[in-house]
Amino acid sequence: MNHLLPLLKKEFSLELKRQSVMAGLGLYLLSMAFIIYFSFSLRQNLITPLVWNALFWITILFTAINTVAKSFIGEKRGLDIYYYSIASPVAILFSKIIYNFLLCLVLAACGYLLFVLLLNNPMHDQVTFMETLALSSFGFSASLTLLSGIASKASNSNILMAVLSFPVVISILLVAVKITKNCMDDLDPSVSYQPLLMLLAIDALVCAVSYLLFPFTWKN
């Protein structure tokens, strides 16, 4: 476990060094927001809160899948053997989960800003919405990191990543959409406590299972 911090530091410094990946993800988000903006450009009034909700979470889902997919897919061959020899799989998993969580959270926040800028802001209860963003980002990163580890060992891993992750993250997505709807309808925050707790429970579940299963997918 004491390898966690150096590994986390490595993830960040590596990311700062290859800025193209980070920039690519940002551009991905930007283009997606623009596509949505242009598709609706003359019909701003068509973007009802429900449509906004659906479009926003689809954008976030695809961005998260692409962000987390690269945590194992596309790493240099043999690099995993090197990691295997210096650190425990659990430390590697958690360093990736934490790192991906922060990345997902930043991208989700950027996505929200872009949506507010280009479309409109139907959100009333900002605090609950931010909590939802944080919890779902963590859920995405915890489940997708393991799946990225599985998909990276297979051929056509990019397609596989989407196929494997979709059914698994859908429960997170359903709860998140539900809470977002509450935030838009300006309901009292206490209404959203139960689904928020549920989101937290799903996060804990997914995290625990990843922790148990990752060592098995890791060894070659």
């Binding site: 599985i150 998909a151 060992k153 297979a154 051929s155 059914p167 359903l174 997914v206 098995f216 997918t217």
Partner: protein, 226 residues
């Protein structure tokens, strides 16, 4: 599992289900009417699916703890049969919904959850198809099997209960509990559940035996070629 008594029991129970399920008297309820007989053919599919997938996950866990070719073969065979049960469950449900709800796909939470559960296991087989190394395929698919099964728990058992549904047993619609007084239906329903599960086990054991034989033949050929 090589004895024949449970196979005979399976045949007897299913013949009884088919005859009793179609001919015995059932309670008259509005809208549902005679389609209530779907209880004997549609609901046991989900019981069968859950049992098969649980067995599949059980062998997946066993495979991760003590890797062996056998446990992988067992796990896949049960997943196959579970998937078949799930598809039959969706189809029988759609036929039923067509007559009672008015359209085969009604976007009901239970229908959607069932469809997603099937997607998970389709993804499982796609994963198996795209890993070349036998040992790695067994290990990765076992891990995905467990992960997907756990991730499905909130989807199948919690979220549908948080939302309203038109499915019998939800939101004031008559479900199985309404028939508590009607022991005639239980007389057919319980045997049918056992019968269908036994049939699933039977199909799975056949698949397992074929695969084990293939494995043996491969081994012998490998030795010959040495």
């Amino acid at each position: 599992m090589k004895s024949t008594w449970w196979k005979i029991a399976c045949v007897v129970l299913l013949v009884y289900t088919a005859v009793g399920g179609l001919l015995f008297d059932v309670p008259r309820l509005n809208i549902v009417n005679e389609t209530i007989r779907a209880l004997y053919f549609h609901v046991p599919m989900w019981f069968g699916m859950v049992v098969m997938f649980s067995l599949s996950v059980f062998y997946a866990i066993r495979h991760l703890r003590h890797p062996s070719v056998e446990s992988d073969i067992f796990s896949v065979a049960y997943a196959y049969v579970g998937l078949a049960f799930g598809i039959l469950g969706i189809i029988t449900g759609m036929i039923w919904a067509n007559y009672t709800w008015g359209s085969p796909w009604h976007g009901d939470p239970k229908q959607n959850a069932a469809a997603i559960a099937l997607l998970v296991y389709f993804a499982y087989f796609i994963l198996r198809g795209s890993v070349a190394n036998d040992e790695q395929r067994a290990r990765l698919s076992a891990a995905y099997n467990i992960f997907a099964f756990v991730a499905m728990i909130p989807l199948l058992f919690i979220i549908p209960r948080m939302t309203s549904s038109m499915h019998p047993g939800n939101g004031g619609n008559p479900g199985f509990n309404t028939y508590d007084l009607d022991s005639r239906m239980r007389l057919v329903f319980y045997p049918s559940v056992i019968g269908w599960i036994l049939l699933g086990l039977w199909i799975a054991t056949l698949r397992i035996r074929i695969k084990l034989m293939e494995e043996k033949i491969n081994e012998q050929e490998d030795e010959k070629n040495k």
